[in-house]
Symmetry: C2
Subunit: 209 residues, 2 copies
């Protein structure tokens, strides 16, 4: 009888080893060899799952995306009766490098450079669309003018989803690269003010009545 291997479990083991390597030494330390050593596997055993460093990185990015999606979904399930900008901020914050876990996620995404992304364009496109969809939901929640028509609302939501996407990538960049200028507390505060201003803008965009 062939030996039964739980491939899902082995991949998770690898994922955890990969994560420990990144947390300890940064994504530049990721290689078939370092991850195999960390997992207590041989390089050959690891190659059964991933042939190249690129495939390992692609796996790490997919894991990051899964983790973020799960956090956002959990947040949506919990609900809450906070004001809209506060709830919107809580969603967006799942994507921002506000603590060590999310900083590690950001570093992994960043480690996959331009060449890598061109080579994995399909995954890249899907991740971009997933993020844009989150920002669309947030913009929709912020649009509080029930009297306006659907076309007007759609246009507003599309525009501000795009702005929010850019704004949050900017906050993430400042959190990572200018931590002395933009500490987590200030980023949270700035995000809330921006979302509240966006919401007021939605009111200002209402048609003449």
């Amino acid at each position: 009888m062939p030996k039964i291997v739980d491939h899902g479990r082995r991949r998770r083991e690898l994922a955890e080893a990969l994560w420990r390597v990144v947390a300890r030494a940064g994504p530049s330390a990721v290689s078939i060899r370092t991850v195999a050593t960390e997992a207590g596997w041989s390089a050959g055993a690891l190659r059964h799952y991933f042939q190249t460093r690129d495939e390992l990185l692609e796996f790490a990015i997919e894991l990051t995306e899964e983790r973020i999606t799960r956090r956002v979904q959990e947040r949506a399930r919990v609900g809450g009766d906070e004001p809209v900008p506060e709830r919107a901020a809580a969603f967006v914050e799942e994507l921002l490098p506000l603590d060590e876990r999310r900083r590690a996620e950001f570093r992994i995404w960043q480690a996959a450079g331009e060449d890598f992304r061109q080579a994995h364009d399909e995954g890249d496109r899907r991740r971009w669309a997933t993020q844009r969809e989150l920002y669309r939901s947030v913009a929709l929640a912020l649009y509080d003018d029930c009297s306006s028509d659907t076309a007007r609302r759609e246009q507003w939501v599309a525009t501000w989803a795009e702005y929010l996407h850019v704004f949050c990538d900017g906050l993430a960049t400042q959190l990572m690269f200018a931590p002395a200028r933009m500490p987590p507390g200030e980023a949270r505060d700035l995000l809330r003010r921006f979302l509240a201003d966006v919401g007021r803008r939605a009111g200002a965009a209402a048609p003449e009545r």
Copy 2:
């Protein structure tokens, strides 16, 4: 008679060699050795100016800042009679990685990691303040409500300078890391729309008359 050395000129020579190394192989290739070779100097001669790779990087970042400042000042001198959001966009674009030259500048800034910035905190703080000042000027230009009082204008300008700073860092990040999703033409267009929306917001923020 001692040999007369034009130190300013020699530093500029080094700067150009440094830039060629970055353009060809990225900032990770920057070292005393590679830059000396590129300049046709000995490592010892280069060490007369810079002791460590960190000092070379700090020099490269200062050069970047000088280049950007010069471009912004030239733009201010030329003036022009385009609409305000268009002029504001032209200023901001000097900071965005919209072409190879500005992508190289962005890469240099990025190569100087967290540890580096902590070690050079004074330069880091000064550069941040310089950028914020530019965004303040842009926000002030966008504020078109002459009827409002100074305190109100100041508050609005401070807020939107902060938002613009974050927004433009986000655009830069997407231009660098998601070039297939955010090509230069789209970034320019998005920036103009955002600036125009910010300007309209200035009108909406006007006090009751």
